[in-house]
Amino acid sequence: METTTRKLVEAVAEIGGARVLLSTLERQLADLGDRWVGDLEGRLPSLSPEEVEEAAIGLAGAVESLRSVAGTPQANRLLGRALSLLLELKRRSAGGRMLLRLLVGGTVAAPAEAGGKLLLVFSPTASSTKAACFRGLDKLHETELHHDPDEPDTAESRAAALLGWLQELGIDPAGLAGIGCRGGFVRSVPAGTYRVTPALERDLEQAAVLHSSNLSVAIASELRRRIAAPDGLLLTTSDPVACDELELTARMTGLAKVKREGTAAHYLNHKAVWRLLAALLGRLPSETEAITAHLSGGMSVALHRGGRVVDVLDAFSLPSTTRSGTVEMAQLLQGFARNELNIKELDAAANTRGGLISHAWTNDFRALVHFRHQGANERQRQKIDLILDFFARKTASAVLQLTADGKPLQVVAITGGLVHEQELVDRIEAGLAGRFPLVRVPGSLAHEALAAGLIRGLYEPDSLLDYERERDLLRDRRHAEDQLLDTPIFSRQVIYRREKAPIFSLDELIDATCVTVQRNFVPTIGIVGADNEEAILASKMANEEGTYRLAKFVLLGDYSAISQIAYDYDLVIDNDNYTIVDTDDPVEEATRLHAANQIHVLMKGSMKTDQILRGVFKYLKASGRIKPEELISHVVVMDIPKRKKMVMISDAAVNTYPDEEKRVKIVENALKVAANLNIKQPKVAIISAIESVNKSVESSQAAERIAARFASRTDCIVEGPLSFDVAMDAAVAHEKKYKGQIAGTADILIMPDIDAGNVAYKSLTTQSGATAGGVVIAGDMPMVLTSRGDSARSKLSSIALAASLYFHLRQGPG
């Protein structure tokens, strides 16, 4: 034992000794290297072309050796600095041709240089078109053509501007061999250079996301049309914004139904920088494992593995000059709840009003830094420092986040216009703490990348990808992946709630119904006139692969018509969950089966509501299932996103202009539904236009009389008249000094007539994102009505409500 301890101590001491030695050596290397690189950097502006070539060769050798010792912070820093400088030297060598030479690759570079073809590349931004003109591998001209904000911005106008520019330069557009443009939000495809096809053009025209680059292909086509070019003119687009090469883990989010895509990053620049890094490191691109961070108007960070961007933090995840990036969920929800935030604001924050602009009211980092040095007061300076720290931290953490797949990484590069901002970049470098060699690639290589793709396409047509094929292949692969991601593992968890706990949402209602059904039995719902798409779809959902199993269904009506719909919508007629009952008279047959206890709840199918109600009423009356004092009425339960509890509205569907007597009965039916939702002392608001009795408003007088009829009741609180806002909004009730107990807390709204009821119901569902579940109460029998406009969730809720109500009305709440 003792010897082991001793050996351990000795080993540690040995390592310690070696470390001391190593770090001394590293420091020496760093000092030496820094001096050499620093010297070179200092002399850079005055180097002759020959000296540049010479320095590049020397530096490349140094990089080669440094690579072998990279790993420690000092060596990493040095390697990063050397690579940055090497890149700068390459930019300056061979008359500026070197970058493009590296990007197109060895086999194409020579013929392209010799061929000297004339090329135009461009990329549209919101307010301008950036363009460059190449001959062979030489960039002849580069420009940014701003368009007149007062003129309409169209593909035609931008094409005309480009042609005008060429004309000014004395370049005959007819001599162009190819046009390369930056692709926008096409359908998702892998990165690469695509030949412009009609399909690509169409997909861009109806892009899912608005982006200035969406116009590019239309401009290119317009150019081709105007030039009246021969068929030889090649049109390409490279690495569009909508690339997607994500690996499966990267597609997942914390919410199963939200799946990520790789789109919305500056792939053009990411890919170009990655290719350059590979060339500088003397590796194949596909073997270069790197992270590239593009810092400009939109920020994105991409992880390159095996030649693909397998993970990316896109322009919507990271804060940038105008985008907020991801914001904490809890605060967002709170903001929504408190009315401090809405969808429109969130949309603006994500696109145009977030990020730097929200902190500093500028979208210009340079201006910010400039102001910090000149003009800012102390607090402003502090804040600017904080902002710079924040953006640097976000960028560095995005880089580190992408390394969490645990695989080796050779190099990290930061690129884009913001790399010129020394104060920001130094902070990022500090954040990364020498964990990786960090290469700075200032500016964008978009034009070179576009030209490189185009040149490869001209000299190696096989390198061009077929847009439709790649799009469809990716779609199919994503589809297969989605199936894996959607594979059920355990059946949907019913959130078990305390018995008799009040039900506050439709989700809770569905769960509670599942529990009730499990405790009792699966009730059978008879669809009256099941030759009806809506009813079939609703019934399918209520039982989707046993996920919910809220009810079984008997489909009443014409056998072959029902069979045909079942076929069309994949409903499995198994004579257990779904059974067809062939009949000429679905209402008659439904009531017969109800009397025989073979069906428990009715649901409207193709039969007209009044037809069913007539038949049902006759049957209920004859069998004594509805008492003379009872009324058939409709209750809709609304789940409103901004409200903690649900609200019931009656009657929005069955009773058109009920008199006072009927409305009292409507209240009684609504109270049954409230009891089913375990609401202890439901608050019933008899709605009118105003909350005080007024002779000229008939409904206010009626409301007062109805409320009076319930004055002695202790099981509920009935008040009237109440206006809708007083009943639903506590703040309004307070402001209007409403004295009653229902100050914005109503559980039930009793409407004066079907018009008011329907308007309230439809306003809430269509304008506030509310979901509704409705039920008709006919004695002890609930009935489901659904309509084509109902959402899937709403149909399911209605079925759940009716099923649970069945047990409640028959056996008392279970």
Partner: protein, 644 residues
């Protein structure tokens, strides 16, 4: 091995199909038989074929490659059709059995014996031969079903002529196109105008000299049927012609139509073998209420069911065909009269007739003495309520109401309920016949799980199956075999339950009247899909104020479809219209050809036709719940388009 469980009869047996027998009554028994018949499919069909008399024994049972649309049965074999009808009876000395029971115009019934029928057939055959008709020539019959039509069918078979029964309800242009398509040598029409003057028009168009008139011939140039018979009786009876098993027995033309009619060709050997065995399996019941000796078929002889069960099946069994001029218009009282005259009478009809009888009888039923031995329905869905009605009011026994699943191209019923409690489920199509292999496949071509609905196909051929489309061999493959390689496609939706019952889930195509012609959308669909630039096609039909119209939704290759149509779409549209016009006719060109990026499908891959139909009629809105559709994006594109 047949359902009849008869000891296998010797080759060239004299007894043929005659004689009822015991049959399976439980599912387990039937499933055993089904399995055995498929385990040794050739053996099964050999034993069925041996119930016929063959002049030359066949050397091969079946020779098929469905991928190529090649089907042959009983190669090398030769047979004489009429010998198989009259031979066994003559040998048994039973030619005096009634072959037909004919209703007399003034009321009452008169039997025609097999001997009388044979003599009429021989006289006819002699007269036809004397007119120079050769084996393989087509003889078209535009006649109401009755004695003459039956005798003509037999006479044709006797001489190896190909009979072409043309439905009497066809309008002139359809009937005329059929005559032209089959290149008939002789036409037989009815003298009494029972076709709204179409017979006369046909006579004029076809040539009075080549037209025989049953009854009074208005045109002196046309011989009458009676003249023909009279002349034939003076001639020596021609010997029956032994034809190859694959020699066409008859051509059946659909009423639906394309301007180029398609005559389904049936082979003599295969059709007779399976019509005989199927009739035995479905209609011949032993016991106290035995059936199979008399059959009333109200379906036209110009249909597969009519040919198999209203003609050849019963005649091969020495049974009596009860003829009623009312056809599908038969009234309950007339039915009762016939049933009383023929105990154990079986009725083969369409569900429509049953629905009408149900209306007529209400809660009533046929008198006990006039109850039918069996009711079989085919041609349309037989809903459970009609089964219940027929069981209570017509047969008195619910299990004696059968559904037969048959299509023109199948020749005989391949799926049917059987007259035993356990083997008959109201509403079901029934159980698979022995020796055939129905499958329900999803759109990916995989076999569906129990109760999952998909399309009904057959994985192997059967003897009575259609052998070709007259004069259009390439369309045969395209129509039946191109959609799912290796399978015969029926265009029916179905499911199979755990016990093996097939349930109909509707047609996969719409039948719609366009410009006065009944047209099936699947035909237009398969034609469009045959165009090299079309990847997928779905055609839906709907009836509007100006009659029916078709709308086609197409996924075209190399055509990028977006918000607006690409300019080249118009050219393609014209090209497709021309293509359809040439292959199917002007009226088959859809009113609209809509190019789409993809067709909306359910999760199992079915094209959601119901929604397409609504889109075609504009009955959709943007904010519907499309959760049932696997690619709602495709649908939303369409809804947007239709909204403009």
């Amino acid at each position: 091995m047949s359902l009849g469980e008869r000891p296998p009869s010797a080759e060239h047996s004299l007894t043929g199909f005659a004689g009822p027998s015991s049959r399976p009554t439980t599912l387990a028994e039937l499933q055993r038989l089904q399995e055995a018949s498929l385990a040794d499919r050739e053996g099964y069909w050999r034993s069925q074929a041996s119930r016929l008399r063959w002049s030359t024994a066949f050397t091969q049972i079946s020779d098929e490659e469905l991928r190529e649309g090649r089907v042959r049965w009983f190669s090398g074999g030769q047979l004489k059709a009429t010998d198989n009808v009259f031979g066994p009876l003559a040998d048994a000395g039973r030619l005096d059995l009634p072959a037909l029971l004919v209703s007399l115009p003034g009321g009452g019934l008169t039997p025609i014996s097999y001997r009388e029928l044979q003599s009429e057939v021989l006289a006819l055959a002699a007269a036809l031969a004397a007119r120079g008709l050769q084996p393989g020539d087509r003889l078209a019959c535009f006649l109401p079903d009755g004695q003459a039509a039956i005798a003509l069918a037999l006479a044709c078979a006797h001489l190896g002529l190909i009979e072409v029964p043309v439905n009497i309800e066809h309008p002139f242009d359809v009937a005329h196109a059929i005559l032209a398509n089959c290149d008939a040598s002789l036409l037989v029409i009815a003298g009494e105008d029972c076709s709204g003057g179409v017979g006369g028009q046909l006579q004029d168009a076809f040539g009075p000299e080549r037209t025989v008139v049953v009854g009074h011939a208005a045109d002196p140039r046309s011989p009458s049927y009676a003249d023909l018979l009279a002349a034939g009786r003076f001639l020596p009876p021609p010997p029956a012609v032994a034809v190859d098993a694959e020699h066409p027995l008859c051509l059946l033309y659909p009423g639906a139509g394309t301007s180029i009619p398609r005559g389904a060709v049936f082979a003599t050997g295969g059709f007779l073998v399976q019509a005989g065995s199927s009739y035995d399996d479905l209609f011949c019941l032993a016991g106290p209420r035995s059936t199979g000796d008399a059959l009333l078929c109200t379906l036209p002889l110009a249909s597969a069911a009519g040919l198999a069960y209203g003609l050849w099946g019963p005649l091969l069994h020495g049974a009596c065909l009860v003829l009623s001029p009312a056809g599908e218009g038969l009234a309950a009282t007339a039915l009762a009269q016939l049933a009383e005259a023929c105990p154990g009478l079986a009725l083969l009809c369409s569900p429509r007739l049953l629905a009408r009888l149900r209306q007529e009888l209400g809660e009533g039923h046929l008198p006990a003495s006039a109850q039918l031995g069996l009711v079989a329905a085919c041609g349309d869905v037989l809903p459970p309520r009609l089964v219940a009605f027929a069981g209570a009011a017509l047969t008195g026994l619910p299990e004696r109401v059968l559904n037969l699943w048959i299509q023109r191209a199948t020749g005989v019923a391949l799926i049917a309920s059987l007259p035993a409690g356990e083997l008959n489920r109201p509403g079901a199509l029934g159980l698979a016949a022995l020796g055939v292999e129905p499958r329900v496949l999803n759109d990916a071509g995989e076999v569906c799980r129990p109760n999952e609905s998909g399309q009904l196909v057959f994985a192997s051929s059967w003897p009575a199956m259609v052998r070709g489309l007259w004069g259009q061999p390439e369309r045969y493959w395209e129509r039946y075999f191109s959609r799912i390689p290796g399978c015969f496609v029926t265009n029916d939706g179905a499911r199979v339950d755990r016990e093996g019952f097939f349930w109909g889930m509707g047609r996969l195509d719409d039948r719609i009247k366009v410009a006065g012609r009944s047209l099936s959308t699947s035909e237009v669909e398969s034609t469009l899909a045959g165009h090299p630039r079309i990847a997928e096609a779905a055609v839906v039909g709907f009836s509007g104020d100006e009659g029916g119209s078709l709308v086609s939704f197409l996924v075209a290759r190399e055509l990028a479809v977006g918000e607006d149509e690409p300019p080249e779409a118009e050219g393609l549209r014209l090209e497709l219209a021309r293509y359809l016009q040439m292959r199917l006719g002007e009226f088959a060109v859809p009113a609209r050809l809509v190019f789409v990026r993809e067709l909306p499908r359910t999760r199992s891959g079915k094209v959601v036709r119901r929604v397409l139909r609504r889109i075609a009629t504009g009955d959709v809105s943007q904010d519907e719940d499309w959760s049932a559709v696997a690619n709602p994006g495709a649908l939303q594109d369409l809804v947007r388009q239709s909204g403009r």
